[in-house]
Symmetry: C2
């Protein structure tokens, strides 16, 4: 029972108001999160179901959000794949044995989620119990390109030189690598669904470093296959950033809902994607720094662009930024609900 | 007369082949550059006309480029503006007194180029003498938004929180700041033209962090005014990155040639911009890492998209990346010439 607004919107059904959740809604901008973060590393938090559950619930308890998203990371499959991941203090993820050669690609293991990420599946079960139907739970995975570029670059990157060099110099092994990642990502998402995830989101956060032709040839077939592997069991949100110049191609990868950033107006984006799909977005996350009246004006504009059409899920165009005032997050969530009452 | 191909293309006139130059064509990928860089800081190189001239000429002597671009930096006006700039070793630019308050904005001086950047104007004169008409010389400046975001953030930024916070919280002073920067940028460009620059390029490298509506309201009027201040004395190239979702709006800012990155196909970009303007671009700079046959294939594709139409200037979609093999740069320049012979 509970609040089904988000699920309905994912299926393109009419809702009483526009549902809202926020990427990185569990995070360092909340003091409750920092209290746990002070005692545990990020990976410890991910790998301890009780902690992951607690952190997942924090924003649900603090704000009137319409969905929870499991506290996890797109890089959690790496350990099972045989890739060494560390989160250095105050740094992003660092991979000490980045994938650079054919031998490295051959050595990657396709994970068995029950064996390799049992803590994640357990955390999902715990959260589901804790939520007790209050709002739906979202599971997620990195899209094949984003996961591949992470393990090739060994961390964040500015120019993706190693990733693109592999694409340009050894397309055969690029395809081999992506096929492997696609297979394991399918297993990873389905295991989350088995454990109780009611929607899954694919994060292709780095796809925007590619031009449209490269996306179509080297990325699209794999994102598509990952989405197909969910096989309609739950709705899929296909999210990426800086890809607004080729939304028409992204759409071909599938997904019930397309997540878009703020570099394109929501009305234009939806029209280009087509109203047969839902849309998620697309407030500039810096807007949350205030002032609140300006933020609310922008919330109203985005809702106006969506025009009350079924299938709009309100979100930011990217994750909440460190330092965002908690009160503004509350004001945002409430404003979406208030302005979208039908 | 020398090689006028680039100037003709800037004016939309037919040429015997497609001219090519490369953003950051003078830089750390060349050993001749590193030989100077080892003995002098980046700012020393900019501020010593003989060194700036030497470095400007290095790629002209090494490759068959169709234009030179003065060795300088978009941040050179800062000192005259009263803003302290340092290039820390192995780091980007760092501003020790970033602009954050109304008082900071009021304190900014409108530079007098003859007084504040005499070394740049002298370097332009030296290069013109050295070039002796071989190829035209490009001058450049940051666009008002990019310069403003640099001095507000105090360096590079991921989310531009301070810049956007100023826009959202104090639009009156944002406009005041941009008006001031617009005025001084106009003086800065015209002084470069007086000294001998035959084309100028405006770099709005960071505009892509904004959505289309914010660009139109808070940026466009100023870029437009800067371009108008050149008053048709020389052709203007209006370059930005990650702005492919609103090329139609960028075009309103003006410029004879629009510079585009590789997130959009050149044929689509040109059609959206309109064939009344020239287009510059748009090879993915990582392509230069090779293999060369793949790079050449992509050169051919871009030339095919331009379809021999007058007004195409071949370039990368962004600057040459550190570590790019010099031989591949030569192969690129030669391939553009070979494939575009008419």
């Amino acid at each position: 029972m509970g609040n089904e607004t988000f699920l309905k919107a994912c299926r393109g059904e009419a809702t009483d108001y526009t549902p809202v959740w926020l990427m990185r809604q569990a995070g360092r901008y909340m003091k409750e999160y920092m209290a746990i973060k002070e005692k545990h590393s990020f990976l410890e938090m991910c790998r301890t179901p009780e902690l992951a559950c607690e952190v997942t619930m924090q924003p649900i308890n603090a704000f009137e959000l319409d969905a929870a998203i499991i506290f996890a990371d797109i890089l959690l499959p790496l350990e099972g794949m045989g890739i060494k991941l560390e989160f250095a203090k105050n740094m992003g993820p660092v991979i000490t044995n980045p994938v650079r050669s054919r031998a490295d690609i051959d050595a990657i293991r396709v994970i068995d989620p029950e064996e390799d990420v049992p803590y994640l599946l357990e955390a999902i079960k715990l959260v589901k119990k804790e939520l007790n139907g209050k709002v739906p739970l979202i599971g997620f995975a990195g899209a094949p390109f984003t996961l591949a570029s992470y393990i090739i670059e060994g961390g964040g990157s500015k120019n993706y030189v190693h990733t693109k060099s592999l694409i340009f110099s050894d397309p055969e092994y690029w395809h081999k690598l992506l096929a492997k990642i696609t297979e394991l990502t399918g297993l990873y998402l389905n295991a989350q669904i088995d454990a109780g995830a009611q929607v899954v989101q694919i994060f292709d956060s780095w796809a925007g470093c590619l031009g449209p032709d490269d996306y179509r040839e080297f990325v699209l077939p794999y994102t598509k296959k990952v989405i197909e592997s969910v096989n309609g069991r739950v709705p899929v949100i296909n999210f990426s950033t800086s890809t607004g110049t080729y939304l028409e191609i992204l759409k071909e990868a599938g997904g019930d809902v397309m997540g878009v950033d703020w570099k394109v107006r929501l009305d234009e984006a939806w029209e280009r994607i087509g109203f047969d799909k839902g849309i998620q977005g697309n407030l500039d996350p810096t807007t949350l720094f205030g002032p609140v009246p300006e933020m609310k004006k922008r919330v109203k504009e985005i809702l106006g662009q969506a025009n009350g059409r079924p299938g709009h899920i309100f979100n930011l165009g990217h994750g909440i930024i460190l330092g965002t005032p908690v009160d503004n997050v509350r004001a945002l969530v409430d404003a979406v609900h208030e302005y979208s009452q039908r």
